[in-house]
Symmetry: C2
Subunit: 731 residues, 2 copies
């Protein structure tokens, strides 16, 4: 009878190295493959063979059963199939404290170590999970955990919770957007902007080549801006802060339940568990290597740290210069294209340049993302962390830092810096002496922020999902198949006896190796950033995220079941550092939303006008009030339009709160400016503290452990007590 | 041989009721006394005797040994002395999972249940701990814990950590204060205020009876104000935010170590542990009662909750009206005393009224404190919480809410509201049509805040420590002794046979009952509030707290060892809800300090003047700039001084940023006002976010579990593993 296969080691013989992958205790037959990756070894072929033998004898000593193919003379890949008998497994489970066996009678056999058998096949998972047909069903989490282990189970559980939690904000975001659509016609400031009768002559937006323009010419953009910048957005932003707190609490509770159901409460630390596993099973090498690491002093590590800090700083510099480069592109393009004498081309210049700039931005973000990922791995290796858990954690922190900055830097620029340093007419700020600092589109920066956000978010999701997650693996697979065929032909000629029927492990070996959960988490966390950090300027973000995730879950499922080798099962208590990152993002989002509402949107100036300056208490006259006067005779030599379609312009208007030319201090900030600024800042304080207080209240009101779970644990404890008492009395 | 006494039950027979106090497992001989408090029972004397018998037979069944005095015919106090044999104790320890006994061989006897013996006598503790001679030594925490149990041990450990952590801020606060003392002579604004040559004629501070006054007449108060309001204070406030974060982290680590050393990690929940204890030992009544509680539906509880909410709201109303009453007292007193024609009396009116008002405030705070304590207990009983732990938690929350509000409401009034609604000259705000709203003393509200704070903090500490903690217990004891003598005489006549030599338990019974740790914690937490919440206005607060605590620890120690009955040992994992309250206070303090610095102190106006308005970049001219002009002809009929010593006053000055009478909009807020307001608000945002970020960084950088402890736990686990493996191989 053929032996059950629990785990497969594979190595390249007569060519490069043995590769010993860390072992895990899964008892699923026929579908395991060790990864041939690992550090290059400098050992000779004989030494390797010896080490292999020693290793294998160690395994046999531990009670494992081995089965191997005959080695062929020439080079190739050898497979060693392992089977772990039930007795060994039980002992191991006990050692790892999977359930503390108070008395052997009652608690063993464990529910943990999944019973051998074929009912849990890949096929079942594929049908129940990795299928678009079951898109709206809950995921079969217990199956996933049994087949892939706890770490991957927790990831998909988290994805499920996150996706489900996205439904309410998606709906509310849509309602906020629809509210904007429905009320845009009754909104006074938009109407005033579109009213030709008010006839505001605006100052030119660039030097010499730009003409004066009528405010009513940007009417449509103003109306579009209102869709995302109405009163409901503020409420929505507060709601989203609460939502974030609620989401985190909800996940905590869900995780508690899973921890209990999956029996993870007794995992002391992954370090201990893994150590024991490694110690009992194999890996003298790993141990020696680790001991060597532990003796590294601070002095040995210092250069690593220094390189780390300096490279991270350098990468930040790269990010900022990429953003700056795009700004330069925009400024120069604008000034060059504006010289085009064709008036129609001139009209569309702004939009064209903005759009191309965003696309460039997106491409830069995508490329740097890949580069930063590689750099983070390199840097973390330099640090030589002691354990694999520590390695993971540091890698995640670093790559999160780099990638999130890379993604959000251009958005931050548009939200908080663009157009703030342009200077008033007559006192423009120039970059390199030539290029005038860019200003936002006339109806405010919010609409630009909105476009930027939606483009980067959608672009990143679509391109990373489709190109990076589907197309590139396909290409890789094709390349590998092509290469193998090449080699296979060679081998065929070489030797006939290695020919054996293709086994499952041969097929699995041709699959992609599993690359960890970090990229998957990272993608979702960055998306979470889009959903929370700038939700005040783009209320549709949750909806887009929801649509993406519904597909993403099944895509990932398909990838895990069919595209990659079965990963080692890893036990872990929780989603670890990702939860802290989520908390950090949620806290940060409160601040950014407060600033977006008060500084990027026109919410505060409008409110201040209504309650402080308006004569009638309505918004009528807001547009007039928000524009300052400029005397065109104050233009510097080459700033005024060289040719103009407007005649007899003596005063033009610009959007700022400054004293008029006839005031005591012309063009200095007016009293309105300071009062609006005070109101903006007061709003930031109010919003931030309100949101923080409400989040704390939510976190406090929702207990971390659900009542039902608490009751259950209590009952289980009572049962245990009773059992102990009984046992005592019997003894 | 006399039996060892582990625990003593006592009851009043032939008179009122049995009182069964919850039991605890301590094995210290000779020094335990059950408390005779409990709910009144309506049972007849016979029923009680039956219940008592049933109860006692239950105890005997559980393996306890009983010893009792002969009951005398008439009424009196009966003592039942219990002894718990070692076997029973061990079983109990096992059931409570004090250490999970994997194999009986190795881990029992526990280090937990303290070995019987007399080396741990009260006397030793008294010598080593409750003694002013050992004031500067560490506390013997292990002894305390062994004698009093974990809950009290943790309290004293916390006190120790808190007191030690107070040393750096005390020193730094002193340095900040000394910096003020040393630089007061070089401080330009104070010099300007004292400069007679500048000759500012100020507007009168009250209607009709007050005269104009010279700014230089408040010179000394200004100088005093500078001592607490200099640049160093701001840095000190940021330091204190960091200190708070550091303190919390440090305590977490200390608690971890204690938890490990005292073997508290396996206390599942106090609920479970206590339940088991209760269940195994006694208390059929308690069980029935509890089951009855559990069946209470929301409807049954609703009236309780409603009363709760409404009473808490009402109490808040009472607090605010108390504060308001003191304000009214101040306003009326000021206006009445100001009519005194004697100019010397007039000069001292302000100070006298302020001081008496603060004393009244203090008395009100102290009295309400006691009342609120009683109300909180009453309210929590109405809620009928399920378990004692829940009862504690709710009681603490309620009394903390009421007491802290009571203590801090007057301080908040002075810090943020006093003088803000007085209105500019000519447009004063009147209360009830007669009384002008009070203004702060001329050099700003900060000095008043300072006086208020120091008086309430010192007064509360001194009076509560001395009167409430020392004098009142003494009086109570005297009263009890007097009463007992009275009764004793009666008994003497009644029966001669009850006469037996006075035992230790008779003596202990005459001591005060133990009233829980809540009052002790509450006192410290309120003090922590003084130390953090308003530290920006009173940098000496940590020093006063430190001085108080050094004495307080020994005072409490003496109280616990000599003044009260030995408390039941209570096992608990941590300091529970108090830690959350500490976190809450620390977060709140960041906000209040930000507001105190930017709105109560003159730090922001001075900085804005220096960098925006000053011609020379120095502070010269700040006083001039911060005073607005008022044309005395604009006074309303009865507002102008009826008789004045000043001649030819046409313009007087007042402290505010308003446009002068000759401006476009006389007496409206000037541009300076808005720019200073914006700066104040910006500072709040900056300070709050900086402090929060730094606190988070501190919390993140300091691991919760100290490295040494982690290593130790890992080693212990390794040993356990080895033991298990060995055991496995032997089997």
């Amino acid at each position: 009878k053929p032996m059950k296969v629990d785990y497969i080691l594979c190595y390249n013989y007569k060519k490069r190295r043995i590769s010993l992958h860390r072992l895990s205790l899964t008892s699923q037959p026929e579908l395991e493959a060790g990864l041939p990756e690992g550090e290059e070894s400098q050992l000779s072929e004989e030494e390797k063979a010896m080490m292999r033998e020693e290793f294998e004898s160690g395994l046999l000593e531990q009670g494992l059963q081995l089965e191997r193919d005959k080695e062929s003379r020439s080079q190739g890949i050898g497979f060693i199939r392992l089977h772990v008998p039930w007795a060994t497994l039980s002992r191991e489970a006990e050692l790892q404290k999977i359930k503390v066996p108070v008395k052997k009678v009652c608690l063993l056999p464990q529910k943990h170590t999944c019973t051998p058998g074929s009912f849990l096949s890949n096929l079942l998972l594929y049908e129940e999970w990795a299928n678009y047909g079951v898109m709206f069903k809950y995921q079969p989490l217990d199956l996933i955990r049994k087949y892939f282990g706890e770490a991957i189970g927790l990831y998909f559980a988290w994805m499920g919770v996150y996706t489900r939690m996205l439904v309410p904000p998606s709906l509310l975001g849509l309602i906020v957007f629809l509210y904007g659509v429905l009320t845009v016609n009754t909104n006074v400031p938009s109407q005033e902007m579109c009213d030709d009768n008010l006839n505001f002559t605006m100052c030119p937006l660039c030097d010499a080549v730009c003409d004066y323009w009528k405010l009513s010419s940007v009417c449509s953009l103003t109306r579009a801006s209102y869709l995302f910048d109405n009163g409901a957005t503020t409420l929505f932003a507060i709601f989203m802060s609460l939502w974030a707190a609620f989401f985190l609490e909800h996940w905590k509770r869900r995780q508690m339940c899973l921890k209990h159901a999956w029996d993870l409460t007794t995992v002391l630390t992954t370090v201990v568990a893994k150590r024991v596993c490694v110690c009992v099973f194999v890996c003298l090498f790993l141990f020696l290597w680790q001991r060597e690491q532990e003796s590294l002093t601070l002095e040995d590590r210092l250069p690593g740290y220094m390189i780390n800090v300096s490279v991270v700083l350098m990468m930040m510099g790269v990010t900022f210069s990429a953003v700056f480069g795009v700004i330069l592109y925009r400024i120069t393009m604008l000034s060059i294209w504006s010289m085009n004498p064709d008036p129609e081309a001139k009209a569309s210049v702004r939009m064209t340049v903005t759009t191309t700039a965003i696309i460039i931005n997106l491409l830069v973000v995508l490329i740097l993302d890949e580069i930063y990922g590689a750099i983070a791995v390199w840097l973390t290796k330099l640090e030589v962390p002691k354990t694999e858990a520590e390695f993971e954690e540091r890698l995640i922190l670093k790559s999160f830092l780099l990638k999130s900055m890379n993604t959000f830097a251009p958005v931050f620029y548009v939200a908080f810096f663009k157009g703030r340093f342009a200077g008033p007419p007559g006192d423009y700020v120039y970059l390199f002496g030539h290029f005038r600092m860019e200003e936002c589109a006339p109806p405010g920066c919010l609409i630009e922020l909105c476009i930027q956000l939606s483009m980067i978010m959608l672009g990143k999701q679509l391109i990373q999902n489709n190109v990076f997650e589907i197309v590139i693996p396909k290409l890789k697979k094709m390349y590998r198949t092509y290469k193998e065929k090449d080699k296979g032909g060679e081998e065929d000629e070489d030797e006939e006896e290695t020919k054996r029927p293709k086994q499952q492990w041969d097929k699995d070996f041709s699959l992609d190796p599993y690359e960890g959960l970090s990229p998957e988490y990272m993608e979702m966390i960055i998306q979470y950033g889009f959903v929370t950090i700038f939700v005040a300027s783009f209320p549709l973000a949750p909806l887009f995220a929801l649509l993406n995730n519904v597909i993403e879950i099944r895509l990932d499922a398909a990838k895990f079941t069919t595209e990659i080798r079965r990963p080692d099962a890893v036990r872990c208590k929780d989603i670890g550092i990702w939860f802290n990152i989520l908390i950090g993002i949620s806290k940060f989002s409160v601040i950014t939303n407060a600033f977006v509402i008060s500084f990027t949107s026109d919410f505060i100036p409008r409110t201040v006008y209504q309650y402080m300056y308006s004569q009638t208490g309505s918004m009528h006259g807001f547009t007039e009030h928000s524009l300052s006067y400029f005397n065109v005779s104050n233009f510097e030599a080459d700033s005024s339009p060289s040719s103009t379609l407007f005649t007899g312009v003596t005063i033009c208007r610009y959007k700022d709160y400054r004293d008029p030319p006839w005031g005591a201090q012309p063009y200095s900030f007016s009293k309105q400016y300071w009062s609006v600024l005070a109101a903006r800042l007061a709003f930031v304080i109010f919003f931030q503290n309100l949101a923080m207080f409400l989040s704390m209240l939510v976190a406090w009101l929702i207990p971390d452990v659900p009542r039902s779970l608490r009751e259950q644990v209590r009952k289980e404890n009572m049962l245990l007590m009773e059992f102990l008492v009984q046992d005592e009395q019997e003894a």
